[in-house]
């Protein structure tokens, strides 16, 4: 498998130098330089326009978070707050259970990320570095399972967790209690394995040289030792990639968490908390607080991503293309 070159190539003559135009004697050269300028303008015009569209909604949110209720109720409503109400960001923590929400988000997302990394790496290693009966079947299932949409599983999973034997006051038939629904496990277990993660880790594990593993075997390393001491360190970048993908996906997950935690406010994550308050937020006087809360829910992931984005880019291309 050939690893892809991830650095998108930057065109060599990116910016035409104005001096070229004055030095060039022929009209053809003038035309060429003119066209280059046109290309430059179109290129950065498109990128800048796109960037404005990307940023504008976020800016609107931040400006909105700084308004007073009076400014919102005016007709027309005041767009630029006269005195920015920075304390709205503090109110997001004092008037809403923001800390509890964020704590839950961190617990759930962190646990899912760790568990998925473990299960994916183990399975990926097995699928990439061994030959065994059923291997092709399992690989095929891993690939096909990815197209099964999650909504198909919502109803049955809810009841599987509800009737989980010996949990949450249930007897062996799963009757009598709440099963796993009242615990963090309800939010974590259904995502303990991701088929995509298994596939991605297999791709990364393929890059581990067989010679290295065989040499270690001769030196008496155990099979788990091969995985732990040789394969894992080699695919660390892949682990970071997958970890980041999983973290972003599950920090942002809302449907399943909302379904499970509707009646368990103490388990609600930040996305669900904000979603379930939406009808209170339809009141204009509460909307600055809402926009502040949205900003608080968005910023941790953005910061994390900006720090680790090179891994994300690699993960995207690994998952999509065969080497």
């Amino acid at each position: 498998m050939r690893m892809l070159s991830h650095k998108a190539k930057t065109a060599q003559a990116d910016l035409p130098k104005p001096r070229d135009a004055t030095n060039a004697g022929t009209t053809a050269a003038h035309a060429r330089t003119g066209r280059k300028w046109a290309v430059w303008i179109v290129k950065y015009g498109i990128l800048s326009l796109g960037a404005v569209i990307m940023i504008l909604p976020f800016a609107d949110m931040l400006i909105g978070a700084l308004r007073t209720p009076v400014e919102r109720l005016a007709r027309p409503p005041v767009y630029w707050p006269a005195i920015p109400q920075w304390h709205n960001f503090i109110r997001a923590f004092t008037d809403l259970p923001m800390l509890a929400w964020l704590t839950n988000s961190v617990i759930v997302t962190g646990a899912i990320t760790v568990v998925q990394l473990v299960t994916s790496a183990l399975a990926g290693f097995a699928l990439a570095k061994y030959r065994f009966r059923g291997q092709n079947l399992i690989l095929r299932i891993v690939l096909v399972a990815q197209i099964f949409p999650f909504f198909l599983f919502i109803i049955p999973m809810f009841f599987i967790l509800r009737y989980w034997p010996f949990a949450g006051g249930n007897d062996w038939l799963g009757q009598g209690g709440t099963g796993l629904l009242d615990s963090y496990l309800a939010l974590i277990l259904p995502f303990a394995v991701s088929w995509y993660g298994v596939f991605l880790m297999r791709q990364f594990m393929l890059t581990v040289p067989d010679e290295l593993l065989d040499a270690a075997r001769i030196d008496g390393a155990s099979e788990f030792g091969l995985f732990w001491r040789i394969a894992l360190p080699l695919v660390r970048p892949g682990m970071v990639t997958l970890g980041l993908l999983v973290w972003i996906y599950h920090w942002n997950e809302v449907i399943w968490t909302m379904t499970v935690t509707r009646a368990a406010p103490e388990l609600q994550t930040v996305t669900v908390g904000i979603q379930l308050l939406r009808s209170e937020f339809f009141d204009e006087r509460n909307q600055s607080l809402q926009q502040a809360a949205l900003a608080v829910s968005v910023i941790p992931v953005i910061v994390l991503f900006l720090c680790l984005q090179r891994f994300y880019v690699r993960g995207l291309s690994m998952g999509s293309l065969k080497g």
């Binding site: 950065y44 183990l122 290693f125 599983f153 109803i155 293309l321």
Partner: protein, 301 residues
Amino acid sequence: MTVSALRLNPAKMVTQKTAPYLFLVPVLLFGLVFFALPLVASLYLSFTSWNSLVAPRWIGLANYEHLFTRDPLFLKTLLNTLVFTVGVVGIGVPASLLLAGVFSRSRYQALWRSIYSLPMVTNVVAVGFIWWFVLADPWGVLNRLLALIGIAGPAWLNDPSTAMIAVVMVFVWMHLGQNMLLFSAGLGAIDESLHEAARIDGASEARIFWSITLPLLRPTILFVLITSVITAISYFALILVLTEGGPVNSTNVTALYIYGMAFTDLRLGRASAAAYVLLVVIFLVSLLQLRVLRRGGVEAY
């Protein structure tokens, strides 16, 4: 492997032959409990009438019959799903391809990448509400901007003729950066010398794009197409936040309809049937795309 062998030396049990199975135990267990079991369970439920408060009642094919003959809303949501899918793929894929084209030839890539990645790392609830404010009529920032240039903006989310357009727009916005990065990774993998050779031969940039870049990019394009289509057909989180399917069901897609059927109206049997119908649709579309993909000369992984 015998029990006595196990008792003698557990470490010895993990040989090169047994190790892969052991490593796969978590995945296999999970596959059994959270994949196979739910699939079977919801297939069974789809033949029952069940509100979860009393035991399920077997009613054969009645749920499927109801969906296709007596539930005009179900068919309408299928149509909405089609419109949504065609919209987000038809607009999102070309737009991100164009952006990737200019992005991969620009400077300050880290900056552009950061900006274009903002939506994809933002949670869907936030995306929904952020746009709910932007699209608000008449005082949202979009209609304020339109009014500046003398255009009376539509009611967007409140008008059934524009709500779907707005939802598609927001979805495209949300996924633009991700697809752009995928395409630019694909573009980065193309051997630049091919382009150089064509340039020396005097081919125009447009010609080079059509005859060299696009064909070489086909695997990425098909990958993005397939994943976008599957995602779009089964998608409803954004719509739940933005419009809850309204106004007058103009943005009610099948997946959202199924969710409400299950957890608001407690028609869990019928919702399971509808989910299976949608699964079949996804399967057929995927098969169709895989055929095209194979014909395009790309092996599936």
